[in-house]
Subunit: 215 residues, 2 copies
């Protein structure tokens, strides 16, 4: 059993879809462009989408120092972060066995604020590179006022699980003879041709990490 499995990360429903391998979990976190962060605010659940990045065994996310979410989380409250990649629509013969192919990760833990200046700069570069690898080398780095306005939070990836479904539909045996099309419609998040900013300075080439964008 992997160290990322705990009582509350153990997948109860459809347990065979559960996975606690660090490599599997990390690959899903790295491919996903956004995560959903949940926390409790005045007794009520709140969930918000945001950008994340991962360095070693820590998940980072960031935002305005004025953000209600980040200010709540900075105080070391419990959070739950979920990342979901949608891979396809599963069409079974029965409505009941319709499903989706997906890869998701759930992490539980307490986030802490990154206050060390060097670490903060390193994480902010990683956040830009998470979106487009190599981009942080091109972009103008944060200046002091920008650094102050940005809150960076770190969540240890120590209590996590992945849930994965792949493959075709699984119908009840007696339904296989029904005259109903069954199979999978794969889905892919595809980059379209980059659109240059109207005010782009002359003579600047489109960077390769965008022309040939891949996740």
């Amino acid at each position: 059993m992997s160290t990322l499995q705990t009582e509350r990360t153990t997948v109860k429903r459809l347990a065979k879809r559960g996975n606690y391998d660090r490599e599997t979990i990390v690959a899903i976190l790295d491919e996903a462009l956004i995560c959903h962060v949940a926390f409790v605010l005045e007794g009520s659940p709140v969930v918000i989408p945001t950008i994340h990045t991962r360095i070693d065994d820590t998940l980072y996310f960031h935002g305005s120092a004025a953000s209600r979410m980040l200010r709540s989380l900075r105080n070391g409250v419990e959070t739950c972060v979920c990342v979901t990649l949608l891979d396809g629509l599963v069409m079974a013969r029965s409505a009941f066995h319709h499903s989706m192919n997906y890869r998701s990760v759930v992490i539980f833990g307490k986030a802490t604020e990154v206050t060390d200046r060097d670490e903060k700069l390193r994480v902010l570069a990683a956040l830009v590179d998470h979106v487009a690898k190599g981009r942080s080398l091109d972009a103008r780095a944060p200046n002091e006022p920008e650094l102050k306005q940005t809150l960076v939070l770190a969540l240890p990836i120590t209590e996590a699980s992945a849930k994965i479904r792949t493959g075709g539909p699984i119908d009840d045996e007696e339904d296989y003879t029904l005259p109903i099309w069954a199979g999978v419609l794969p889905l892919k998040l595809m980059p379209q041709p980059p659109i240059a900013d109207e005010r782009l300075a002359p003579g600047i080439e489109e960077p390769d990490y965008l022309t040939n964008y891949r996740r």
Copy 2:
């Protein structure tokens, strides 16, 4: 001011991205294939991805009657549901102004179980049709044991907000002369060619709602 705006749905950060129009909110809910449902379990936040559908001013989601999430929510506890559509990566000249183009919706409220048999069947058909329009007419309808195993929850869309970002990067005025490429990389969730199940009965044509899949 629309009726969907309340104190807690009011977008505080980047308030100009906030939108409370019913039409706008409904369009995002209808386009998204999945939502993230947050709730509080034994004092801690939990967030889980699931399929949803909308009928009129109600959001529905479903799952196994044995699901921990659904059993918690059935008891009328507070929930927060978030739907996010990712439209593009926004590359600014400064790392600080990097962003994403997105359309998201957050709904707050209490879910209740759908117990009426006819309503439950109507919602289950709508859930299948949400994924692929027209599919519920082809698929074998739920039988009695399947109906019993499925829990359907209804969340009124009365307290909600959308948050939308579109367009190119917005840099600080002094950064526009920097020799850095800036613009948007649009992203689209694209259907790939359908893959028929290995055990597909002979002579069954691929349905048009999959061949020409669109959201």
